[in-house]
């Protein structure tokens, strides 16, 4: 399974998503022991699996991005979200964000920055570098719930995109094989197909644009 992927379940042809939400694995980075305890609880109570580390350097080690030997055992590492404090000694949250976005393995993983300081240039800088969100500390349960919904929605849209593109490929294969059918029925078929497929194309392009 690729890094960052959530456990995929078979998505029925109707396009309905399964009721059970997959468990997200979150890496939380904070130099404050108090804040680590709180964020861990906030995430656990939101049904996330949590790994906490105390610094950006440790985070890179955990992800195998520190150039160390750890990288070889990490092909099964699934991280769905990284939440990091901004002001940390050594590597700041911003530095960590940059390193993650530069990596091929983890650049797709959403990164959320937390800070006790509401500094607009800092927020802009982080968002520009690709941070998913910027949370003001102290972090509340509502913040975590919102982030989780965001991540799940992004992952669900990715699933839909994949399933639709698979469906479309199947239908295209069917079309070419049934091209000998009567013109009226194929016309009817295509008019019925046109609306949903144009909708799909629109939503696919929207999905793609939301990934960048």
């Amino acid at each position: 399974m690729a890094v960052g992927e959530v456990m995929r379940m078979e998505i029925p042809a109707g396009g309905e998503l399964p009721v059970t939400t997959p468990e997200l694995h979150v890496l939380a980075v904070d130099d404050s022991i108090v804040d680590r305890k709180v964020i861990e609880r906030l995430l656990r109570i939101s049904s996330c699996k949590v790994t906490t580390v105390e610094s950006g350097t440790r985070a890179l080690q955990y992800l195998g991005l520190d150039g160390g030997k750890g990288a070889s055992n990490l092909k099964d590492l699934k991280v769905n979200l990284i939440v990091t404090d901004y002001s940390m000694p050594g590597l700041t949250g911003y530095d960590l964000l940059k390193k993650i976005k530069e990596s091929s393995a983890f650049r797709e993983v959403p990164v959320v920055i937390m800070s006790s300081e509401n500094i607009l240039p800092r927020i802009e800088e982080c968002l520009k570098e690709g941070a998913e969100e910027f949370l003001l500390k102290p972090v509340k349960l509502a913040d975590v719930k919102r982030i989780k919904q965001l991540i799940l929605r992004n992952e669900a849209e990715e699933c839909k995109t994949l399933s639709h593109s698979n469906k479309r490929k199947l239908q295209e294969d069917c079309d070419t094989s049934s091209s000998s059918s009567s013109s009226s029925s194929s016309h009817d078929d295509s008019s019925v197909k046109d609306t949903p497929s144009s909708k799909r194309m629109k939503s696919e392009s929207e999905n793609l644009s939301s990934l960048f």
């Binding site: 108090v34 709180v38 609880r41 006790s116 500390k137």
Partner: protein
């Protein structure tokens, strides 16, 4: 004192901490994170806060007692304390840290000494109050009762 009286005392005591501004809504957030599966969450976080703060205040005292005060060392400590006090809802400690930081920025040694005293005062106050709060809770639990949820009508 019977159980109902103890529970009422606890509620009144907790309310007074909010009314005096010693605690803010973040403390309520922490209480919301406590449940049967994590019945000691709040006291665990607060204990971490006490241990962490004792260390920071010690470091701050040492740093400010130097012949030449290195504000590059002082400020991060105050920032840390500001952060952790904010995370547990220790509002007056947090506010004292905010003032402290502004004097760090001005590199005003004398004012910083005063700020440290102020921070210590607020810290010992919240520490004392929270320790009393936890004792009240323990008494209730020991008597077989449940800790009532805080209802803030104001």
């Amino acid at each position: 004192m019977d159980l109902v009286q103890m529970q009422k005392s606890l509620q009144d005591y907790t309310k007074s901490l909010f009314l005096e501004g010693i605690l803010d809504s973040q403390f309520l957030q922490l209480q919301q994170l406590q449940d049967e599966s994590n019945p000691d969450f709040v006291s665990q976080v607060v204990t971490l806060f006490f241990q962490d703060s004792d260390r920071i205040l010690n470091d701050l005292s040492l740093s400010l007692d130097q012949q030449v005060v290195d504000f590059k060392k002082v400020d991060p400590h105050v920032h840390q304390l500001k952060g952790s006090s904010s995370s547990i809802g220790a509002q007056r400690v947090k506010n004292a840290c905010v003032v402290f930081r502004s004097f760090c920025e001005q590199q005003n040694v004398e004012a910083c000494h005063r700020c440290l005293q102020q921070v210590k005062q607020e810290y010992y106050l919240v520490k004392n109050r929270l320790e009393t709060l936890f004792k009240l809770e323990q008494q209730i639990v020991a008597s077989g009762g449940m800790i009532p949820a805080v209802e803030l009508g104001f």
